[in-house]
């Protein structure tokens, strides 16, 4: 079924020279590995999206709805009226090309339509050709073109080949943000029922079951219980968190991917241990069991519909504030959209760290705090008992997530935490970190299996940055604060830099935490023998009470 991904040697040969033919005269070639499967009708129906049908991007006829052209024209006009960003970005680009080589998909594919400027032109040309007088009359000479089915196919191909990472907008002299344009284009495509299933499925799941994976309440709880068993086994501590508990002080929400698959589950175990360690009065929710928001990759409206769960559940449970786990786009939504869409959160209280007393003034309106802000505060106030030598076999480097870097500015908090829970932390080059960070190549809902080749291409610049710090400074662990990253950087590293593994920052925290009543930490949270584990010295004195070796042995 899925295409065989060519070897790194083949994929790595990229020609960045544009073809002779002008871009308006070229068409994308849908090939296995470079396009995403179409949304299944039931996933669109489940949330009331337009034009549910069974179709395939390889079909000639995409079964667009009647008067689809009118729908698109009206859709563009309506969005121009609603979003100044969109209107402005349609008009002011001077095509200086500063953005051209900033896109990871352009670097990894060489396809000129992956230059952010051209990606935007795919939509701008229609805006001019269909809505502007000069473009209608002068056509191509005024940069305009007409709406055709080929244009829709091209949009589908390229607007699901943009991860909304915003790297281009850092370098644009006018701050033109291709993410905004991609968001609008995807909204337009959704008006025609042209979504991808890897987004539509999670959206439908999240709407009905509370999370992208579609875990039902009992299953969510069971999954957490498996992880609790693992913690008991490897750490020797029994933890009993609560679910859907009214009256808890804090509601904790994180992406559901972390309760489901490796290596995210190890990050999840880190959370469980951290909260146990400090005796936090918190609860999980099976209803608001998704931090991520694939609605954001569908439309502004769908983003709002899915995000509403967070405040709704916080209100129902009567918590004081919300703590959020590691996730990239979740935090863009929480930080820049949530309060505007679903606030005001006047039923919540100013977030105060119950352990340190620190007031999180920066979250005074939204009332939601990032886990690394929270952990950094705990460490700074010396509230955690840490043994960073547990991570001594690791040389950790850090992948800045696009959304938390360029849509928030969370840069130092994770670095501070990592430097306290590990003894060996090295950064990648400044050209590829912080606001200059490169996308994992699979963000914004593109992390589907059928898309592997394109994901490896898009992730190449990221991988190359890791490769360099691996070769120069011996980095062997790539930490991140994003659930999608954890899921996709693992195969990306396997493909490009096989000696480097991937983990969440909170997994490193979990491994370094010295828990009260813990057993020997011979095993890390992954259940692997920990190379940094130093067994306690043999009790030589005969008067030893023998309680040391009696300690709860973690291993079975």
């Amino acid at each position: 079924m899925a295409a065989k991904t060519p070897s790194p040697e083949v994929v790595g040969q990229v020609d960045h020279h544009p073809p002779r033919k002008g871009w308006m005269d070229t068409k994308p070639e849908f090939k296995p590995g470079n396009y995403l499967y179409a949304a299944q009708p039931q996933n669109l129906e489940g949330v009331g999206l337009a034009n549910p049908r069974t179709w395939n991007p390889l079909d000639d006829d995409w079964q667009l709805p009647a008067d689809w052209k009118g729908t698109v024209r009206e859709g563009i006009a309506e969005r121009l009226q609603r979003y100044r960003s969109f209107k402005l970005f349609m008009d002011i680009c001077v095509r200086c090309g500063a953005c051209a080589d900033k896109c990871h998909f352009f670097i990894g594919s060489g396809d000129p339509k992956n230059m952010p400027v051209l990606r935007a032109e795919l939509l701008r040309s229609v805006y001019r050709g269909e809505l502007k007088t000069a473009g209608k009359i002068l056509g191509k000479m005024a940069g305009g073109r007409k709406l055709t089915e080929d244009v829709i196919k091209e949009w589908f191909y390229y607007f699901f080949q943009c991860t909304e990472c915003r790297r281009c907008s850092v370098f644009c002299p006018y701050g033109i943000d291709t993410a905004e344009i991609t968001i609008m284009a995807r909204e337009l495509l959704n008006l025609l029922g042209c979504n991808i299933d890897w987004i539509a499925g999670p959206v439908n799941n999240c709407f009905h079951n509370g999370n992208h994976l579609g875990l039902q309440p009992h299953t969510f709880k069971e999954n957490v219980e498996y992880l609790l068993d693992d913690i008991e086994e490897y750490v020797g501590v029994k933890i009993e968190p609560t679910f859907n508990r009214k009256g808890a002080e804090i509601l904790f929400i994180t992406p559901s991917g972390d309760v489901f698959a490796e290596p995210g589950i190890f990050t999840f175990m880190g959370y469980l241990m951290l909260f146990e360690h400090i005796g936090l009065d918190y609860t999980w929710s099976t209803y608001a069991s998704e931090g991520g928001n694939f609605g954001f990759f569908t439309s502004h409206e769908m983003m709002k519909r899915l995000n509403a769960k967070m405040y709704h559940e916080a209100k129902r449970l009567g918590v004081k504030w919300i703590l959020g786990g590691e996730c990239g786009h979740m935090w863009r939504v929480v930080h820049q959209y949530m309060d505007t869409m679903n606030g005001p959160a006047d039923f919540l209280e100013m977030p105060i760290n119950p352990v340190t007393g620190t007031v999180f003034n920066n979250a005074s309106a939204t009332k939601m705090v990032h886990i690394t802000e929270f952990t950094a505060d705990l460490i700074k106030n010396d509230k955690l008992n840490l043994d960073p030598s547990q991570n001594d076999h690791l040389t950790v480097t850090f992948h800045d997530s696009c959304n938390t870097s360029r849509g928030m500015g969370l840069l130092e908090e994770p670095r501070y935490v990592m430097n306290k829970v590990c003894n060996n932390f090295v950064d990648m080059a400044p050209q590829v970190t912080r606001e200059n960070t490169f996308c994992c190549g699979s963000g914004s809902g593109l992390n589907a299996g059928e898309y592997l080749e394109m994901r490896m291409r898009g992730g190449l610049p990221r991988a190359n940055g890791v490769k360099r710090v691996h070769e120069d400074k011996g980095a062997n662990m790539l930490a991140c604060v994003c659930a999608i990253d954890r899921a996709v950087l693992t195969p990306l590293m396997e493909y490009w830099v096989p000696d480097v593994d991937c983990c969440g920052v909170s997994e490193l925290v979990g491994n370094a935490l010295v828990m009260e009543g813990q057993g020997e930490r011979e095993y890390n949270l992954r259940g692997e023998e920990n190379p940094s584990y130093v067994p306690p010295p043999e009790p030589e004195e005969p008067e030893g009470e023998g309680e040391a070796e009696a300690g709860e042995e973690g291993a079975e």
């Binding site: 990229v14 960045h16 020279h17 544009p18 009331g48 009226q81 979003y83 100044r84 960003s85 402005l88 002011i92 680009c93 001077v94 095509r95 000129p112 230059m115 400027v117 032109e121 000479m141 940069g143 850092v170 370098f171 644009c172 002299p173 006018y174 701050g175 943000d177 905004e180 009905h208 079951n209 992208h212 039902q216 309440p217 009992h218 709880k221 679910f243 859907n244 009214k246 209803y287 502004h300 519909r305 820049q336 309060d339 505007t340 005001p344 003034n361 920066n362 005074s364 309106a365 939204t366 802000e373 950094a376 700074k380 849509g407 500015g409 840069l411 130092e412 050209q431 606001e435 610049p461």
Partner: protein
């Protein structure tokens, strides 16, 4: 390359129109009075219209692109310029953007080698050419105020003096040229380099539209005809000033004896002004309105209001509990409502394997 030729030819045709109109048809009033007034009105009215038109669309979400550390914990130093949280710092960020082209200064170039081995090197040429061009254009524009002001303000004289510090008299040619103006040189140099860049760099050539070539050729035409009137043709500056003063004081006059080359220059300037509001040149106004730059990153601290925020259909907790009540009770999860009626004996719904997503 059709756009390239189209634009170059268009500018030549515009020159031809001016020559034909003034020299052959003697339409001096049209080219010296009517068109300049029309162009200037179009420019200002168009500019205001476009900006107001953009401003009419609201900013539903605060979406600044953050380029530095956020303000969070008191002991972590925030980057106040690149990640501003107050209007004051936003103004500073915008000032850097508008006055120093800060984002362009960040530019770096991809260096993709076998391996693949990817590196990024500093690339300041675009920034340099852009700064050269824009500031030179500004100085040239200000310098032209001397035609519209009497007496000429001292500040302008100082500026001209600074601008003309390269006294190039080329005595060996016996021409005795007026002082060479640095701004003019930089303007022509900057715009030519920007043009050259578009021709030479394949990717940039590929993305260039006719509407990108055209203003470049137009401005080159303006700079060349300007230089021509100043250094070669030696137009009658006194008459031109008389004409300019007439336009400025709304008592237009069309003195005789002004070279046709001046009219060509003037006409191209008029075309530029009139074309401006309908073109990408509106980035002049747009840069101030860009929501990724002109908003503070304080959205968790202060609620940003979306004027068209509308209610949406959600799936609330009670609907969710209705869907899963039995399973929740079975799993020991708290529920709001107990089961309404005793269910008939049924096999316990096993945690059906959810789809792998």
């Amino acid at each position: 390359m059709i756009g390239f030729l189209f634009s170059a030819v268009a500018v030549l045709i515009l020159c031809g129109i001016a020559v034909a109109g003034v020299w052959a048809l003697d339409l001096k009033v049209l080219f010296g009075v009517i068109i300049p007034y029309a162009a200037i009105i179009t420019f200002f009215a168009g500019l205001v219209y476009r900006v107001l038109d953009w401003a009419r669309s609201p900013v539903p979400f605060a979406i600044p692109t953050t380029c530095g550390q956020e303000k969070s914990l008191s002991w972590i130093k925030p980057n106040k310029v690149d990640n501003p949280t107050t209007s004051g710092w936003v103004i500073l960020r915008m000032a850097f953007e508008v006055l120093t082209f800060r984002s362009l200064f960040r530019n770096m170039k991809l260096d993709y080698r076998e391996g693949p081995k990817i590196r990024y090197s500093s690339e300041k040429f675009l920034w340099l050419f852009a700064i050269m061009f824009h500031y030179a254009f500004l100085v040239v524009l200000i310098r032209h105020a001397r035609f519209f002001l009497e007496p000429i303000p001292g500040a302008l004289v100082v500026l001209e003096h600074l601008d003309g510090f390269m006294e190039v008299n080329l005595p060996f040619l016996g021409l005795g040229l007026p002082a060479m103006q640095l701004s003019g040189l930089l303007l022509l140099g900057g715009v030519s380099l920007l043009l050259l860049r578009r021709i030479v760099i394949p990717q940039v050539r590929y993305i260039t539209l006719a509407s990108d070539w055209f203003p470049l050729f137009l401005i080159i035409g303006i700079a060349l005809t300007g230089a021509l009137t100043r250094y070669v043709v030696r137009v009658d500056v006194v008459s031109i000033k008389e004409m300019a003063m007439g336009l400025a004081t709304f008592h237009p006059v069309v003195p005789d004896g002004i070279s046709v080359w001046f009219y060509v220059h003037l006409f191209l300037v008029c075309v530029l002004f009139a074309y401006f509001p309908f073109s990408k040149l509106m980035h002049l106004g747009g840069v101030f309105l860009s929501p990724t730059r002109n908003l503070p990153n304080n959205t968790r601290e202060r609620r940003h209001i979306n004027p068209w925020n509308y209610p949406v259909k959600t799936h609330d907790y009670h609907e969710y509990e209705d869907d899963f009540r039995e399973k929740m009770i079975e799993a020991g999860l708290p529920v709001e409502k107990e089961m309404s009626e005793p269910e008939p004996e049924a096999p316990v719904a096993e945690g059906a394997e959810e789809e792998d997503k």
